[in-house]
């Protein structure tokens, strides 16, 4: 349940976030964001300066191979960020891309030259010499070099981090080891820590994979063009990556191409700190991780050992703490297990972070919306690029995502043999998400003909399964050309993926994602809503549409309150609860309309605690639904005992003196709007109806029997009078309540001391004890019930008045703060039919008594109501035009016009007397109160 809650929260926060932007419109990335994305830089980097330059990069380590790699000058743009110096050629953006962390820059020199040329020479830790000639205005060049100086200066503290970091890198080891010829020195060079493959062997036949020769090529490249934190990526770089990375270097290159290396360098020791800080802690994610540890690439030997399992556990656990919104999702175990074959824990941790947050955002989230979204995108790409196959799939009702979803989710790792999946990942890390789409499309394209033959998901899956198992086979086994024959199916797959589907670009993916996002989001939301409502406990009083409204408001309230805090939670605090209730309950008052302090809010606090079954100080959706279900109860006795329970917090079935006072406060709180006359209860409604009826009768008498009475227009109501009357009635009920409660409460006494024989004395003793503020007393449920039932107004409160102020069938928006209170006069006296019945009844009785009845008169009155005569009491004919509206409107209109000319109804005196009584009562009571307080 709790998982679902967070899930829901996640979904709603995402869509809320989306709602703040015009839908269907792609979110425009800022220049810095695009820049960071292109060079996989950490969030903290932004462009400080940029300038056009010409750049020449030469290595001082590699002097021999200049014949092969001619020294080419590239023109392009040079960027400076807080910690990086980046050059990108302007030819095709990939002929020469140089990325250096400022810590790797050992020396910057101004090259002496002719006055109109401004040039710098930069030397890096790996002896790369970068010659930069600035193009453009002199002052701009000066400024850039000044900025560079400033950044270098402020970066000085970081430079001491460099050497220890370099010691963790295989590339440095590789160069050092192969640069010395002295065998003794060679042995001194220590192999840095690496992936599990170093201990348990790397998957695949390394000889067949030509690992050694690949490593040799990389050795040349890394020496010539730099490595790790200062490297120039040239054509050869991409070429070498495409043929597959050598196993020993793979971990570091993954780290480099994803940008995880930059994150790790920036956040040294953070990984270990996360683990330390959370040691021994438990979480749902950890439970889920434990379930899967023994089943992550179980065929790889390391994952049958403690060592392998422990590494995997630590990486997944640390990530679940780093990003609790994701926590742990199945498939992450497979991805992390794959990373750990080539990477150290720390490398794998940062690479995993980047995968989850940048490469496939939302894939592993609690709603998995990213996965669902990309499946939709994939389907639409299939439709675009392979319309015939798509229409075949659609026609046969085959669900493509059933097949393709695991490809994306586990980055092909559990779909094809690992050695091939790793090579796809090599390219995926370099080129990003489009790679997954390109490969997936190529798989369908290559198997297209066979797939067109089948008509069910099962065969569809098994064709592709077979295909994945044959990736090592020749793609053209019968070809006469040996070169062709030696081409494997896997090579063919890459060719089709990156040649034929080269039109699948990042931009296209982004566009498609933006297009489908809103519908996916709303699907996810409605799915979660449905399942969450389905899993709520059974309700006695609430109807499904109530639940739907409660659900909507619940999450609307907590999202609003949490988004600003940036916390994802699925429970509500007291303040949110108050906000939540105000959408449904008229009696929840707002600060501005209620002089609110702790005491006055006592009722809501108690209600909150009463609903908080787990006693966590927060309410879940289930708590709220159960609470409301209990509260929304029209059974008088249950409603009274539920109310009593709110005050009987320790379930002792009785409450003490202090609590009795609080109950009466609570009742006053709940009836505030009734006291103010903003809402009219049944009693007032009836007396208004009676009043109208009286008026009609007396009018009739005055004007003579034959005149047709225009019923509505000639009756006016003194609105304030009824409001006041009701308000006083409520105050009087409150004071009666407290009076009676104290009268009937039992003093807490030593039972043995009472002389049972002398009942009279005992009674007085009790009464006295109750009035004595120092004597403790208790009120139990039966007595409380009796006290409530003794008062018609309060009895009604529990049967209908309270209920009629809860509007669960109302869809509320949080923005509209409190439920809109209409002028209740409009609503409540709208029942003209009842008034008419009253009039008829009275007219009948008058007619009988005074023997005055004439048929004509009766029929005239009936003419008002004849329509209703055939109907049941509670039935309306919707098509019939009841005169009620007109009646009331007219009545309202004429209140002012006619009120002067008509005498005050005779009841008024009675009301005045009642007022006196009430006042006396309250006075008397307030004296009591003062006494008690002493």
């Amino acid at each position: 349940m709790s998982l679902f809650n967070t899930l829901r929260q996640k979904a709603s926060s995402i869509s809320l976030f989306d709602n703040t932007k015009p839908q269907n419109q792609p979110k425009k990335l800022t220049k810095d964001e695009l820049f960071r994305e292109e060079f996989r830089l950490p969030e903290s980097e932004s462009i400080v300066d940029e300038i056009n330059t010409e750049v020449l990069i030469v290595s001082q380590e590699d002097t021999s191979s200049d014949k092969e790699h001619s020294n080419i000058v590239y023109s392009g743009k040079l960027y400076l960020t807080h910690h990086y110096l980046i050059f990108r050629d302007s030819f095709d953006n990939k002929s020469c891309v140089f990325i250096a962390n400022l810590s790797t820059i050992k020396k910057v020199e101004r090259i002496p030259s002719k006055s109109y040329i401004f040039a710098l020479s930069i030397l890096t830790h790996n002896n790369l010499k970068v010659l930069i000639q600035f193009i453009g205005i002199r002052s701009k060049s000066e400024q850039f070099s000044h900025n560079l100086k400033l950044q270098l200066k402020s970066n000085i503290p970081n430079t001491k981090k460099l050497q220890p970091f370099l010691d963790t890198l295989y590339s440095e080891f590789l160069i050092k080891k192969n640069s010395t010829t002295d065998p003794e020195k060679k042995n001194e060079i220590k192999l840095p820590e690496g992936g599990l493959g170093l201990i348990y062997k790397f998957p695949g036949d390394l000889r067949k994979l030509k690992d050694k020769s690949k490593l040799r090529l990389w050795f040349d490249y890394l020496r010539r063009y730099g490595r790790n934190l200062s490297i120039s990526r040239q054509k050869m770089f991409f070429k070498l990556l495409r043929v597959g990375l050598p196993s020993r270097l793979r971990g570091e290159m993954w780290e480099l191409t994803t940008g995880a290396m930059y994150l790790r360098f920036e956040n040294l020791s953070v990984y270990h700190k996360i683990l330390e800080d959370n040691e021994g802690k438990q979480s749902v994610a950890i439970e889920e991780i434990e379930k899967d540890l023994n089943r992550s690439l179980p065929e790889y030997p390391a994952y049958q050992t403690e060592e392998g399992i422990n590494r995997l556990r630590r990486v997944l656990t640390a990530y679940s703490w780093k990003n609790p919104d994701v926590g742990y999702c199945q498939a992450m175990n497979i991805v992390a297990a794959a990373l750990l074959i080539f990477q150290t824990e720390e490398q794998a941790f940062w690479t995993l972070s980047i995968i989850c947050e940048r490469y496939v955002p939302g894939y592993y989230s609690k709603t998995m919306y990213g996965t669902l979204l990309d499946q939709k995108v994939f389907e639409s790409l299939v439709e675009k690029t392979m319309p015939i196959l798509w229409s075949h799939i659609a026609k046969n009702d085959i669900q493509l995502s059933v097949v393709s979803l695991p490809w994306f989710l586990s980055l092909f790792l559990n779909s094809m043999p690992l050695v091939f999946a790793f090579r796809i990942i090599d390219i995926f890390f370099l080129h990003g998400p489009k790679t997954l789409f390109q490969v997936a499309l190529a798989i369908l394209r290559i198997n297209g003909e066979e797939l067109l033959e089948i008509d069910d998901d099962g065969t569809f899956i098994s064709i592709l399964k077979d295909y994945f198992n044959q990736l090592d086979d020749s793609a053209h086994p019968t070809s006469s050309d040996p070169k062709f024959r030696s081409l494997t199916k896997f090579q063919e797959l890459l060719i089709v993926a990156f040649k034929e589907f080269s039109n699948i670009t990042d931009d296209l993916i982004t566009k498609e994602r933006n297009k489908h996002r809103p519908s996916i989001m709303s699907n996810v939301e409605s799915f979660i809503k449905k399942s969450q409502i389905r899993n709520l406990p059974r309700c006695k009083h609430l109807k499904p549409e109530h639940l739907s409204n409660i659900y909507d408001r619940f999450y609307e309230c907590i999202s609003l309150n949490n988004i600003t805090l940036g916390i994802g939670s699925s429970t509500m605090t007291f303040d949110t609860f108050r906000e939540f209730l105000s959408g449904f309950c008229d009696w929840v008052l707002h600060d501005d309309e209620y002089n609110y302090n702790e005491n006055e809010n006592d009722f809501l606090h108690r209600l909150f605690r009463n609903w908080d079954r787990q006693k966590q100080g927060e309410l879940t959706l289930t708590d709220v639904v159960e609470g409301l279900d209990n509260f929304y109860n029209d059974d008088l006795l249950e409603a009274i005992s539920n109310f009593f329970q709110i005050y009987d917090e320790n379930n002792s079935e009785e409450v003490d003196r202090e609590t009795i006072l609080q109950i009466s406060e609570g009742l006053l709180y709940l009836t505030k709007r009734l006291q103010d006359g903003l809402i009219l209860d049944k009693l007032t409604q009836e007396s208004i109806e009676n009043y109208i009826a009286d008026q009609i009768i007396s009018k009739k008498k005055q004007t003579g029997s034959d005149d047709k009475i225009n019923l509505p227009s000639e009756v006016e109501i003194n609105k304030e009078l009824f409001q006041r009357e009701q308000g006083e009635r409520y105050l009087s009920s409150a004071s009666n309540f407290i009076g009676r409660a104290f009268e009937y409460a039992q003093p807490v006494e030593d039972v043995q001391l009472i002389d049972l024989g002398n009942s009279k004395d005992q009674k007085t003793l009790k009464a006295n004890a109750a009035l004595d503020p120092n004597h403790p007393l208790t009120l139990n449920l039966p007595t409380f019930r009796m006290v409530v039932l003794a008062d018609e107004t309060y009895e009604l409160l529990f049967t209908s008045t309270l209920l009629s102020q809860i509007h669960l069938d109302r869809e509320t928006k949080v923005t509209n703060k409190s439920g809109v209170l209409r002028d209740m006069f409009d609503g409540l006296i709208a029942d003209g039919r009842r008034v008419a019945n009253q009039v008829r009844r009275r007219m009948d009785s008058t007619a009988n008594n005074e023997n005055q009845s004439t048929k004509s008169e009766k029929s005239k009155l009936n003419s008002i109501n004849d329509a209703e005569e055939e109907e049941e009491e509670d039935e309306f004919d919707m098509n019939k035009d009841y005169i009620t509206d007109e009646l009331l409107n007219n009545a309202e209109l004429q209140v002012n016009d006619i009120s002067d000319s008509h005498p005050i109804p005779k009841d008024d005196k009675l009301i005045e007397r009642m007022n006196d009584l009430t006042l006396n009562n309250t006075e008397a009571h307030s004296e009591n109160l003062i006494e008690f307080e002493h």
Binding site: K291, N294, Q330, T367, V402
Partner: protein, 215 residues
Amino acid sequence: MSTQRSVQSVKLVLLGEAAVGKSSLVLRFVSNDFQENKEPTIGAAFLTQRCSLGNNKTIKFEIWDTAGQERFASLAPMYYRNAQAALVVYDITKPNSFIKARHWVKELKEQASQGIIIALIGNKVDILEEDESLRKVSLEEGENLAKEEELLFFETSAKTSFNVNDVFLAIGNKIPNNDQIGNGNNNLGNNERNNGNRVELNIKNDSPQSNNCNC
């Protein structure tokens, strides 16, 4: 119907909390095999198995084995759509998995195709052999839920194969015949073509336990 042996395809989906043994039940049924550490299912896995019932009826189960982790729940409708049968699996040693099973049953009743045959499965009874006290969901609780919701009910062990084939047999017997209910698939066409493809699934099935399920 009398002499000709009819083969009927039945789409069956497995649902239940993570690591309750869904995939293991399928592996036991399909290959009569058991693996201690089975990789979690990502999305879903698809397998088939034939099962011959007494009355000249053979059923080809098309089994969709789904991922158990809670967040995969939003993908489940994709897999149980058009399913004629479902196994809702829980682990008798994990009370939470039983609560989850209850939720799945509710969801299926509400969302899946009408008349879907649901079997409630309490798996991992083999664990009780070590220690009876490890049982956390009683037999009665399972039976009661099954009765309440009108489900088939079994306690099983994919490890020892206890009751596994019986589950599928019971479902097979409850599946209405093809000619009674048109289920939209032109099954005969399918089967003839598939006969060749899928033999390998049944090769291992010569152990005594699966004597009901061979072709």
